[in-house]
Amino acid sequence: MAPLVSIRNLRVEATTDAGRKLQIIRGVNLDVAEGEIVALIGESGSGKTTIAMTLLGHARPGCRIVGGEVRVDGADMVALGEHERAAIRGTKVAYVPQSAAAAFNPAMTIMAQVIEVTAIHKLMSADAARAKAIELFKALSLPEPETIGDRYPHQVSGGQLQRLAAAMALIGNPRVIIFDEPTTALDVTTQVEVLRAFKAVTARHGIAGVYVSHDLAVVAQIADRIVVLRHGEVQEVGTTEQILFAARHPYTRQLLAAFEPKRQDRAAEVAADRPVPLLEVRDLTAGYGPIKRDGTPAVAAVKSVSLSVERGKNLGIIGESGCGKSTLARAIAGIMPGYLGQVRFNGQEIAATAAERSREDLKQMQIVFQHADTALNPAKSVEDILGRPLTFYHGMDGRTRDKRIDQLLDMVHLPRLLRSRRPGELSGGQKQRVNFARALAADPKLIICDEITSALDTVVAAAIIELLRELQRELSLSYVFISHDLSVVEAICDEIVVMYRGERVEQLTPETLATPSHAYTQLLFASVPKLDPRWLESLPA
């Protein structure tokens, strides 16, 4: 029997800003059988989403399918005209987007959008469609299935929207659904629920799926087969077990290796005496909005949090989106001053806002932001970016500054010839290294790292963590490392603070890490996907 989806020698071309043509998909072959879920995995730019989109006969603006065929249930999506393609979209192939929050029209109710497919293709009456949608809401275990459709997208949470997007895909009884990184934007605890719902629904209706993701552990839970992509070419294809446990291609192994927990043995080097901590935060409360009568802000993002960082040690702060971890980092750095409580640095209380702090205090505590794209001025060269703090804090100029810039580039393992480049001409990993080097330029004692690996591909992120450790050994730095990703924090931190809804839930040491006592910490840790195809099923519901 012919497979449901068969892609043969697919080639997609993209036009660069300069008008140059580049092949971004280079002769990809791929089959999906009836009811089978195939994962496309690879880092950003591997072409995984582009390939998935061709199943709908769609190429994003600037891209064009230039060769090959994409047969879905016999019809070649490449050769079809616009009208025939439109007839297949939503009925035979459906799409679940990465960010449902962006993919729902803010001006229409959810129900109107979920049943729109039935109206476009005249599949059933509006009433029948509504009844079916409510059935789907129930199947996807959405709360208040009868009325949730009457709301507008902004009135529903992210995890619910993602499931509603699945309902929108399922309403036309498609043969195959494209899942485009559907859980990437979600917190781990939400991700578990959404994955479970997807898995149950596709299994029940026998729907085939193409699941696009960069996360092997997520894919392991849902896919029958995995296709590893890089630079628009297939590197390796195999069943989920084969890829996870018997990968042959070096690139696949590299991806798997980035998943290995790299817990470090640092407990041995405990300092003999206990000097004054480098950073001490006492009962810090910070937030947004007008200040209430009791001196606290209307929205308290951080509630009375205390913590301390020893010299040369690292503290991890972990929690899900909205737990206040970034606000805490900003309050410590003086960007968003705390309303109550104090921040002590080097044994002395320092001012709440950066504007009131001395240049020496500012110099010794640096912060590195998540998105190097926005943290580096696109109009300046690497040289200027690194040179400014040298001039500003240390009064360097001329040759001494040039020499120091070269040293900094060496420290973060960047070639010196990148000096004259602008950030736009660097890769994501390189940008993050420059971002970090700028903090180093100040000669700080403490560096606050706010999700600095979150926007990077796993392999690149692993290299950055390695760099951080190396620099710490050489420069006796301390890090406050903020992340939502447990494995990253584990890899670098001596102690870990868990935050939930603005409060400090628990502080873990390497010894207690395996056995957290608080229920939320247990849930959080258990929700981190494992490279084990049976992990999702093994979780208690």
């Binding site: 709908l56 769609h58 994003r60 603006p61 439109a86 007839a87 297949i88 979209r89 939503g90 009925t91 459906a94 799409y95 987007p97 960010s99 962006a102 993919a103 729902f104 029209n105 803010p106 001006a107 229409m108 729109e116 497919v117 476009i120 293709h121 507008y152 902004h154 929108m168």
Partner: protein
């Protein structure tokens, strides 16, 4: 939820009121504090110093500026627009009929230009990159790049000089039949429509094009929606705020464009009155006309802001 809309709308109104006060302040001081003594102008160069001084006292010209401003503002609020210096008639009487004339011209233009511009702007966005779209774009760039008087003079050249279809000047008092109305209004309206529509088309097209590149429109495309459906159901409701704003801004431009058009076609409207008042330095008349224009502009902009708030689904 409605409370939020109400408070936002009230906020807009308050801003409009504050702006109006600032504007009236600016208009008053621009016209009165600058050189040229009103009493001397009124009485002529040959007047005796005593007569001038007497008139100054009678007109409160020696009071501090701020007092005179408040006095003037109070007068405006009570409907006392002052007396024209040039012919001693109440400003209200001078303005009355002419104001209606200008409103007529503006209303007819708006009635034609708004639907025309929205249709052209939306369809151009719908078929972006097509020959049709490019033609519309080039045409609108051409129109916004030339002065209004060039469009008006071209219209006269074509319709009155070469084709001899229409009279070159407008005389509203002769109007009795529909044919007359057509002949009189054709060229002023045509000119204003061109001027106003071009901006509106460009802004509408830009607003729709921007919404068309959002993920939710792509999502609708991937559900199999047709191009008209994408534009009318998905893009348009979200582009409503910017489009309403574009309409308001363009219509406010009508207020400026009308100055040239009324002058060229000798149309007896308020703008022509104001240009004539400038020639005679008739300050009360200038002040009142200026305030009418500013009030019109503010009303339009505030209305657009409030409509944009109402059309924002996130505030529902």
């Amino acid at each position: 939820m409605n409370k939020r809309i109400l408070s936002l709308a009230a906020n807009r109104l308050a801003i409009a009121l504050i702006t109006l006060v600032i504007v009236s302040f600016a208009v008053f001081f621009a016209t009165t504090l600058l050189p040229g003594d009103t009493a001397t102008i009124l009485l002529g160069q040959s007047a005796t110093p005593e007569a001038v001084a007497g008139l100054r006292t009678a007109m409160h010209l020696d009071d501090p500026a701020i007092l005179r401003f408040l006095h003037w503002l109070m007068g405006l609020a009570q409907g006392d627009l002052g007396t024209s210096y040039a012919n001693n008639m109440p400003v209200a009487a001078l303005i009355g009929g002419r104001f209606v004339n200008t409103l007529k011209l503006a209303a007819i233009t708006a009635a034609i230009a708004v639907p025309l511009a929205l249709t052209l702007g939306i369809t151009a966005a719908m078929w972006r990159g097509s020959v049709y779209d490019r033609a519309v774009t080039i045409l609108t760039i051409g129109i916004i790049s030339v002065p209004e008087f060039m469009i008006a003079t071209s219209a006269v050249l074509i319709f009155a000089v070469y084709l001899k279809w229409l009279p070159a000047l407008s005389f509203t008092n002769e109007v009795s039949t529909f044919y007359d109305i057509l002949r009189v209004y054709a060229m002023p309206v045509l000119t204003l429509t061109f001027v106003v529509s071009a901006q509106m088309i460009r802004m509408t097209r830009a607003a729709v094009v921007e919404t068309l590149s959002t993920p939710y429109v792509e999502m609708a495309l991937l559900k199999g929606a047709s191009r008209p459906r994408l534009v009318l159901r998905h893009a348009l409701p979200n582009a409503l705020g910017p489009i309403v704003n574009a309409v308001a801004l363009s219509l406010s431009y009508l207020l400026g464009g009308v100055i040239i058009v009324e002058t060229i076609f000798n149309y007896p409207g308020i703008a022509k009155l104001m240009v004539d008042a400038v020639a005679t330095r008739d300050l009360p008349l200038i002040q009142t006309c200026a305030m009418i224009f500013c009030l019109g502009y503010l009303t339009l902009i505030t209305l657009a802001d409030i409509l944009a708030i109402l059309s924002n689904p996130r505030l529902r």
